[in-house]
Subunit: 185 residues, 2 copies
DNA sequence: GTTAAAATCGAGTGCTCACTCGAACTTTGT
DNA sequence: ACAAAGTTCGAGTGAGCACTCGATTTTAAC
């Protein structure tokens, strides 16, 4: 599982071979295919495995943590596991190609994430904490887009790009400060 | 050239074969290799060809057009040529994999684009048209990231995503209105 | 018209790929 | 102890891959 994750992250789905994965585990390619009937199923297994161990949201849902803090914590955590980011970035784009086994997975992932952030932004808007004029739906898509895009740039130039700072900049643009009750006029 | 562009966009570099390209032009694979000594060189030729015909900036540099308008015009234009976006998105992520021939190209492309937007934002900041607190360098990287990321989502769901609107939202957040000279208190 | 250069291709070459098959070996339940 | 089930693998299979070679055809130059 870990081996397949590494191989697909470094070589992509099309570029990575079952032999590479098998070698990495010290197993024959045949034995590997005993557990995963096809390369396609191995990929889907890796994607679901990744979801199940990292979880998509925060594992301990800390109620004192704000939305922004949660995003930034996740972003900073991701910097320590570049392999995961790479797998995600490489396979996501690869899934745009014809008949890619991961396409459905990424479509659904985007849908789910957008829905989650949309709900978060809507909740903030109700509290008046979303900057006026900001559309929650487009903000959700934009936040994901910004995150994915900055990850790609970071992978190509880890020294030059500060992922968390870019996300913080964006979030502080659209999310207003916690209203201080003593400051009302 | 066009054939190779189409094939690489639809299948990626690793996934696309020289035979596919040759068939599409009605040429033998051998003849294709007469013009491009290797698959690698074909890819680089396609990337440079793409740059040379679309140009990276606006072809007629209209002085009356604002920075935002120029970006949005380009974004709307791109919606009409999904093949180009797809080529860019697929190959960019693929270039993250080991020893990919396109890696240097995309590194340089990002560097150049960031430098361009950094210069644009700096110029705006000098005129006081950049929202206070916005860092030109991070804003440049963020704009590119947002653009790339939203393109990926758009390719997976063209109906549900409004690329130009997301970019407009972001630009209007960081760029202030043209100061109206009559409104100065 | 001759000749050199450029263009085209059929037929390979050697390699890697995902996947199959059949037979061993190991484990486990009883 | 024994059989069933699970695990492992060597040895293929057929297809596709990028790329080569040698030769033939087409074009161009003088």
């Amino acid at each position: 599982m870990e081996a397949a994750h590494t191989v697909f992250a470094a070589q992509g789905y099309v570029g990575g071979s079952l032999q590479d994965v098998a070698d990495r585990v010290g197993m024959s390619q045949t034995s590997l295919l005993h557990y995963f009937p096809s390369k396609r199923e191995l990929l889907l297994a890796v994607l679901n495995w990744r979801d199940s161990i990292t979880g998509d949201g925060q594992t301990p849902p800390d109620p004192t943590e704000t939305f922004s803090e949660s995003i930034l914590r996740q972003a900073r955590f991701n910097e320590k596991i570049p392999g995961v980011i790479e797998l995600y970035a490489v396979l996501c784009a690869e899934s745009l190609t014809d008949d890619h086994p991961g396409r459905a997975y990424f479509c659904e992932r985007f849908d789910t994430l957008r829905a989650t952030y949309f709900a978060d932004f809507t909740r903030l808007a109700e509290k008046g904490r979303l900057r006026p004029g900001v559309d929650p739906a487009r903000a959700a898509a934009s936040l994901i887009a910004l995150w994915d895009g900055i990850q790609t740039q970071w992978l190509l130039d880890p020294e030059g790009i500060d992922m968390a700072a870019c996300l913080r900049d964006y979030l502080s643009l659209i999310i207003l400060e916690e209203p201080d009750e003593n400051t009302v006029a």
